[in-house]
Amino acid sequence: MELATIWFVLIALLWFGYLFLEGFDFGVGMLLHVLGRDDTERRVMVNTIGPVWDGNEVWMIVAVGATFAAFPSWYASLLSGAFLPVLVILLALIGRGVAFEYRGKVDSARWRRNWDRVILLGSWLPPLGWGLVLTATVVGLPLNARGDLVGGPIALLRWETLLGALAVAGFSLVHGAVFTALKTEGEIRDCARRLALQVGPFALLPLAGLLGFSLLGGAIVLTLGALALWRLSIGREGQAFALLGGLAAAAIATLFGSLYPDVLPSTLDTAFSLTVANASASPYTLTVMTWVAGFGTPAVLAYQAWTYWVFRQRIGTRHIPAVHTP
């Protein structure tokens, strides 16, 4: 396989890693008020993802950075073309990251309530935004010969991209509920499981619809989703979580597979489309990057897996220490 194609696959893998990992921590944030009815329960929720959300977010940073390095034109056209949605994602992520760290720093109900709102917004907007942006790179944008968006931000709004937004948000919601069921004990765990079973079929529907163009992809996603909910209903939360990972992998594979060999099609003229061949960096850059990724990726997988192992314990309200602030 050509190096540029390898990097296309690697970028797809990085996005999978991101949606799989940060997907659940977005979901936990989305459900903060639904599953956490008082402050201690909300602290349980936040602490299920406390040690890992930052590491999860780096998958996005590396996916975008790798796109910059391996496909500069793709990076440039997509981020400038999707300027406003990307800005909303950034604003939301800024608030969210700070909110996790700051919400418990002052012992005041009002202080916590405000940061919880930031977490809520910060957990809904990025999956919606990324769903829109990633779908836009698959269905294409009205790009001119220079690779610049024509027609302003409105050109991003199509039924596919809006469905994509709902698809990623819906997936994150279910994934977060299943993760909460997997990581907590007591009442929160039961609530999370019930919620995932009730809401799951509907929340996964946009994703199945988005993949409707591919019978195989759509079928795999529906099957894995159904399996996941079944395993969850009999209390096998870990298996349900893994099956949702398979679902995310199938969705990313279907979307990126249908995109190849384009990386960002132009809807104005196929001659303006960015492809793996015409948007990629030089062979030398790709070689250097391949070496770095060849050594770096296994290490990342190893130590991140270890983190999940260290913090594998289920937590409940009885594990939460008393608030201590100056």
Binding site: N47, G50, P51, D54, G55, E57, V58, I61, V62, V64, G65, A66, F68, A69, P72, S73, Y75, A76, L79, F83, L84, V86, L87, L90, L91, L93, I94, G95, G97, V98, F100, E101, Y102, R103, K105, V106, R146, G147, D148, A281, S282, Y284, T285, V288, M289, V292, G296, V300, Y303, T307, V310, F311, I315, R318, H319, I320, P321, A322, H324, P326
Partner: protein, 496 residues
């Protein structure tokens, strides 16, 4: 305003803001790692208290550094897409490597450190803070390599598509510019952390309350010494950098000195009276140290240093008199190129950087002297000076960056005078084809959010700094009954 101006303001504001957090993160995480090592080796509870206290301040700040860093990576593509297309092959690779080998380590091991108290063995827990803080150092190295390439492009050739192509990643990572900029930045980061240690500790010592005097005394010692050493390092590496700059970006240094005419020998301007805004410089009266500039530039008291006027002639001959007559250049199309950077900003930026750096060192030295051999600092003036001293290295860093970035205008990638043909780019060419409205929405929303968060962070840092050790170390709980022993063990050692 045009998109170009808005995008430049946004880049300037977000970068200077990000770089308020970053040096504190780098410096403080290294010092905290050192404190925890001291605790690990001696078992002295004083060092544990220091680790917890300064570690908390580090974390309050760390969160902001992380989230504002994401904006930095994204805005190249959002607002500077022409730049990204042009340099992605070279510049993008450094960003990707930074993410893959530094950010992953930093974020993962920081999470392990925050939540791993009593969950990990002490040795492993200690290794986590070292991994996280060394990753911040590595991250600084990669991003400074990227920045240094913009100041002095090496390791690339012009490819067949008219864009630079990476030729040697090794050349990028050993660029003479980054070899000088990296230690300079690291010492600057340590100076920031040192000033915080000194300021907060002196405040606590002067109150003469509480039982934590050993903690503050050890902190003020550590901060004082690190501050003094960091200043020496900053000065030495700064000298190295300026020598390189005379060679690589002579216009920047001439502007920094408001040196209009070529002089031999050239004097170093300490203070200028009059109008430095005009490139003709006739109105500028400058207090100079004779021949010092020649020495700084070439280590030779009698050498020639080129002035702005002569350099403009050279630049025009080499890179043309006018911008390309391309509609993409907006209002710059076909206009004459202004090769002289903003003189007051470069001139005063350079002096404020050095001045505030020196003030920070002075505060450190004074703190060491006034707390020597068990003495406690006396006098409100000194407490205020130490608290004010916290701001000085931040200001020095900010002015340093403003100077070095504004000083390379009108280029975003400065041509390398000793090679790499054609690898340079005007800032005016680099901007995205977005609308003014989009750019303005972005500038206003980011600035507003940053402003609000600055207030929150300052409020929290102040609150925790004033609360002292008691604020981060809850008093030991009452001895539990036998039966309850297991249950209390179950409570997490740390939770959000």
């Amino acid at each position: 305003m045009e998109v170009l101006d808005i995008a430049r303001w946004q880049f300037g504001i977000t970068t200077v803001y990000h770089f308020l957090m970053v040096p504190l993160t780098i410096g403080l995480s290294l010092l905290v790692a050192g404190m925890q090592t001291a605790w690990h080796r001696t078992g002295n509870p004083k060092y544990l208290a220091m680790t917890k206290f300064w570690g908390k301040l580090m974390l309050i700040n760390f969160a902001m550094g992380v989230v504002t860093g994401i904006v930095q990576e994204f805005q190249f593509g959002m607002s500077w897409s022409e730049y990204s297309r042009f340099v992605g092959d070279v510049f993008g690779s450094l960003l990707a490597i930074e993410g893959l080998v530094a950010f992953f380590v930093e974020s993962t091991f920081l999470g392990l450190w925050i939540f791993g108290w009593s969950r990990l063995s002490r040795r492993v827990h200690l290794a986590c803070i070292w991994a996280a803080s060394l990753a911040t150092v590595a991250s600084a190295y990669f991003i400074l390599s990227a920045n240094s390439w913009m100041q002095h492009p090496v390791g690339a050739t012009l490819g067949p598509n008219g864009r630079p192509q990476l030729r040697s990643i090794g050349d990028l990572l050993t660029n003479s510019t980054v070899l000088a900029a990296f230690p300079h930045t690291m010492f600057g980061a340590l100076a920031v952390a040192a000033a915080l240690l000194v300021g907060v500790s002196v405040w606590h010592l002067a109150r003469r309350k509480g039982t934590d005097t050993p903690v503050w005394r050890a902190s003020v010692k550590l901060g004082g010494w690190v501050g003094v050493i960091a200043f020496a390092g900053v000065a030495l590496t700064g000298d190295l950098q300026s020598k390189l700059m005379f060679e690589q970006q002579p216009m920047k240094m001439a502007a920094a000195e408001a040196l209009c005419h070529t002089e031999k020998p050239a004097g170093f301007s300490i203070f200028a009276v009059g109008d430095v805004t005009r490139a003709d410089c006739e109105s500028v009266k400058s207090v100079t140290v004779p021949a010092l500039l020649s020495f700084l530039a070439n280590s030779d008291l009698n050498s020639e240093v080129k002035g702005v006027e002569d350099l403009v002639k050279i630049y025009k001959a080499k890179y043309g008199e006018n911008y390309p007559n391309d509609p993409r250049m907006g209002s710059f199309a076909g206009k004459p190129i202004e090769y002289v950077p903003n003189l007051p900003v470069t001139y005063w930026g350079f002096r404020l950087m050095i001045g505030f750096g020196a003030l920070a060192a002075l505060a450190s030295a004074a703190a060491l002297w006034l707390t020597r051999r068990g003495r406690l600092p006396k006098g409100r003036w000194f407490v205020w000076a130490a608290l004010g001293g916290i701001a000085t290295p931040f200001l020095a860093n900010s002015f340093g960056w403003i100077f070095t970035e504004m000083g390379r205008q009108p280029f975003v990638v400065v041509p390398n005078p000793s090679g790499v043909d054609g690898v340079w780019m005007y800032t005016a060419q680099a901007v995205s084809a977005i609308s003014t409205t989009e750019a303005l929405i972005s500038l206003i929303s980011l600035t507003t959010l940053y402003g609000v968060l600055a207030v929150v962070e300052f409020f929290l840092l102040r609150r925790y700094a004033m609360a002292g050790v008691a604020g981060v170390m809850p008093p030991k709980p009452e001895e539990p009954d036998e039966g309850e022993n297991k249950k209390s063990d179950d409570v997490l050692a740390f939770a959000y």
